[in-house]
């Protein structure tokens, strides 16, 4: 697969590492919530964690819903991370920059701590910058005092230096650059942007000095190597512009041949040689470009540059052949671009994108373009990788997902109605039956019995009536002893019963001893049992209150549910219509973008084609004239 296609396929939805797209194109990293990978996590708040779970899967809609539900139900327990900061970030990731800004603004109005305020200013600044309001962005980013996250601090400085460069306030940009951490990748990006901006503003020496540092840096890091190539390329073209061709060659030669910038470097190298009348060397650089079958401007340009160099060398026949070859290549490519334009116009292009993303909440670039023939559509790769087009596709996917959700709810509402009906029926039968159950009327007598028992226990405790706490066996024994005592009293005048009376006293004493020594324990146990009884009665009372509450409130609750379902039905229908209409507009917008890109490419191609044809005719003419002489 083409390396450009591979690079393109690896780009993710909204969470890109900072990258330079082309030349001095300012980069912006989408809102990111940094989770500490490889660390342990202690869950402080389930609702917050559930929202993060969806966010980490790029399911922004679900993540926001979870947080909104938690906020409305008041189930979120604030831990060290402010939930509104997360919500604002989620809105930003979901493309709702207005809502995000509102939330961040609220955090500034509140008595928030300094960290929260700094985070809020930072996010407001990023949002404004992303949407092109650079004055507002500058004001917000300048309000940040300090960010605890070093990566965010680097990004804030990067954005500020970039804004100053865009406004050509290079002194401010250089001041920010000097304050940045030299080891941070943000510093490298800023240095490139400020340097390129200075060159662009004719401050050649300052600009080239900044870029030269990057061009000479020692690194194995892929991102820095890419920036190093970019710096070499920018320096090469800058020197070429002022005819410092030798210096230009040195910088062009530093660009790695397998890098995406190498085509531009080869073209520049060829022109530098050409300007020094080193036509053979120019040809060898362009010949390398010629065999590359990619679609970038450098390759296209090389096809006409080669015959031009041959002409300079006096090899006119070879030049004629090369012009013919270029015309054939341009014609073939024009045909391919025409096919793409036809595909865009008849809807096939959009269909290929749509079938991959329909209804899905989260999708990777690989999945999104899995049905698109990327080889055929390779002319559109610069568009596919552009933020503008990616945003448009994301919006399209989000709208498709909204329709999917609305359909789901529309289909689910009858089920909710059914459940509600079941609940009403259950209420009528079971709850009404339960309320009328005669056993419920016994509740009062249970309470009365409890009060009697409590009074009895109190009396036992007050009078220390140990025998009242005798168990059944002891009661039987006591009853037997009482009977014996009565008999002894009755027979005391008739017989000598002293021995039996002693025995009775002994036995009674034993039983009384057992009971009275165990009295404190028994009294404690009785009190405990009374407490348990109280708890059961309290639970019974709660259940009774709940039943009575249900009896009283349920009809109103059911009616409220019913009204909510009824009202939502209409809302869903209206929203579906609006979303469907907007989806169509967005589809037209995507097609327009693709069409513009293809047509723009076609115009360039046609220019090269016509120029080659013109040059061929001119050369042919001159050969004929020479022959006739």
């Amino acid at each position: 697969m083409d390396s450009g296609i591979l690079a393109f396929m690896s780009t993710s939805r909204r969470y890109k590492k900072p990258q330079l797209v082309i030349g001095l194109c300012f980069v912006l990293q989408a809102f990111s919530i940094h989770a500490a990978d490889e660390q342990t996590h202690t869950v402080n708040d389930l609702a917050y964690g559930v929202s993060l779970y969806h966010f980490f899967q790029n399911k922004h809609f679900s993540a926001i819903t979870d947080l909104l539900v938690a906020k409305k139900n008041q189930t979120i327990q604030t831990d060290n991370k402010h939930p509104d900061l997360l919500l604002g970030g989620l809105y930003l990731s979901y493309g709702l920059n207005h809502k995000a800004t509102d939330i961040f603004q609220t955090l500034l109005d509140e008595d928030s701590d300094a960290d929260i305020r700094n985070e809020a200013w930072f996010n407001i600044g990023k949002t404004h910058y992303r949407y092109g309001f650079i004055d507002d962005a500058e004001q917000a980013l300048s309000s940040v005092n300090q960010l605890s996250d070093s990566n965010k601090a680097g990004e804030q400085q990067f954005l500020l230096s970039t804004i100053y460069s865009q406004k050509q306030q290079y002194n401010d940009a250089l001041t920010v650059l000097a304050q940045m951490d030299n080891n941070s990748i943000w510093h490298t990006y800023s240095q490139f942007n400020v340097g390129a901006g200075l060159i662009n503003s004719d401050a050649m020496e300052m600009g080239t000095n900044l870029l030269k540092e990057l061009a000479q840096m020692e690194t194995n890091d892929a991102e820095r190597l890419l920036l190093k190539d970019k710096a070499n390329l920018a320096l090469g073209y800058s020197y070429l512009q002022y005819n410092y061709n030798e210096q230009a060659i040195q910088f062009f030669e530093q660009v790695r041949l397998d890098d995406s910038e190498s085509s531009k470097a080869l073209l520049g190298l060829g022109w530098s040689r050409y300007k020094q009348a080193q036509f053979k060397q120019a040809l060898s650089a362009w010949a390398e470009l010629k065999i590359r079958s990619n679609t970038d401007l450098s390759s296209l340009e090389s096809l006409t540059a080669i015959p031009h160099a041959f002409e300079k060398l006096g090899h006119k026949q070879q030049a004629l052949n090369e012009y013919s070859y270029a015309i054939d290549r341009y014609s073939a490519q024009l045909q391919e671009v025409d096919n793409i334009i036809a595909q865009i116009r008849d809807g096939r292009f959009l269909k290929q994108i749509k079938i991959s993303s329909l209804g899905q909440e989260s999708i990777t670039s690989f999945e999104r373009f899995s049905h698109l023939d990327l080889k055929t559509n390779r002319y559109l790769l610069p568009l596919f990788t552009s933020t503008k087009f990616q945003d448009a596709l994301n919006s399209h996917q989000d709208l498709s997902h909204l329709i999917y959700r609305l359909n789901q709810w529309q289909q689910g509402l009858p089920a909710l109605n059914l459940i509600l009906q079941e609940k009403r029926n259950a209420f009528k039968t079971r709850l009404a039956g339960t309320i009328q159950n005669p056993k419920l009327s016994q509740a009062e007598s249970f309470i009365q019995k409890r009060h009697t028992l409590a009074a009895e226990l109190k009396a036992i405790e007050t009078k220390s009536a140990e025998l009242k706490l005798a168990d059944n066996t002891e009661r039987k024994k006591l009853a037997e002893l009482n009977r014996v005592s009565s008999q002894l009293k009755r027979l005391q005048d008739h017989t000598d019963l002293e021995q039996q009376a002693d025995k009775f006293r002994l036995l009674y004493g034993l039983v009384f001893w057992d009971i009275s020594t165990d009295y404190p324990v028994r009294l404690w146990q009785a009190k405990q049992e009374l407490k348990e009884l109280d708890a059961s009665i309290a639970e019974m009372n709660r259940s009774l209150a709940s039943l009575k509450g249900a009896q009283k409130n349920s009809p109103a609750v059911f009616n409220r549910f019913s009204q909510q379902i009824k009202g939502k039905d209409k809302t869903i229908e209206n929203l579906k219509l609006k979303v469907t209409q907007t989806l169509k507009e967005q589809e037209a917008n995507i097609e327009d973008m693709a069409l513009n890109e293809a047509q723009q490419y076609r115009r360039r191609l046609k220019l090269y084609h016509d120029r080659a044809q013109y040059s061929k005719a001119r050369l042919y003419d001159s050969l004929l004239t020479a022959e006739s002489k």
Partner: protein, 183 residues
């Protein structure tokens, strides 16, 4: 104008095209953004409207299906997760399987980064219940690993939340599985 001059001019123009694409910044202009801005605002409003509707319906559905006094939810969380690579979880309540969940790589990654998954929501009567979770995956040394965790819980008449925690016991070099009842 001679042909040679025309040709040279064309090359110079192309050369400048190349220069501009390399060095000049192309910040978005307001005029270029105007039509997209309108549709973007429309999309933003619609997204917000659907989000609010989704929130209300979500709450309505939960209120209808899971009354506050019987609501019972089970969540899954993971700490570093170096000693256990989760594949699936089977959840039983009172010996009845209520959930069998097979994880995708993205979900595992989300758990690793500190996300919490709501595995189950249902209704449970007040009283004692036995919760059993069976974790399947790869343990230390990439060996197949199957472990269970059980706990008796006392369900009250308030909504109850239970967290299944997958922890790394670095001392034993083994994963630990805990069930935590949230108060």
């Amino acid at each position: 104008m001679s042909l040679k001059i025309i040709n040279t001019v064309a090359q110079v123009i192309l050369f400048w095209v190349m220069m501009n694409s390399l060095v000049f910044a192309n910040p978005p202009t307001d005029s270029a953004r105007a039509p997209q801005q309108t549709i973007n605002s429309k999309i933003q409003n619609l997204k917000n409207e659907v989000l609010e509707l989704n929130r209300d319906l979500f709450i309505l559905e939960e209120d209808l299906l899971f009354s506050a006094n019987t609501q019972f939810s089970v969540f899954v969380s993971m700490d570093a997760g170096k000693l256990f690579q989760l594949d699936s979880i089977q959840l039983k309540i009172d010996d009845k399987i209520v959930s069998n969940y097979l994880y995708t790589e993205r979900e595992i990654s989300a758990l690793h980064r500190g996300g919490v998954q709501r595995l189950y929501i249902g209704n449970l009567t007040a009283g004692k219940h036995e919760i059993t979770a069976l974790f399947t995956g790869l343990g230390p040394n990439k060996r197949e690993y199957r472990r269970g965790a059980t706990q008796i819980i006392e369900k009250t008449t308030e909504p109850q939340f239970v967290e299944l925690k997958i922890l790394d016991n670095t001392g034993k070099e083994q994963p630990d599985f805990e069930i935590k009842v949230w108060e």
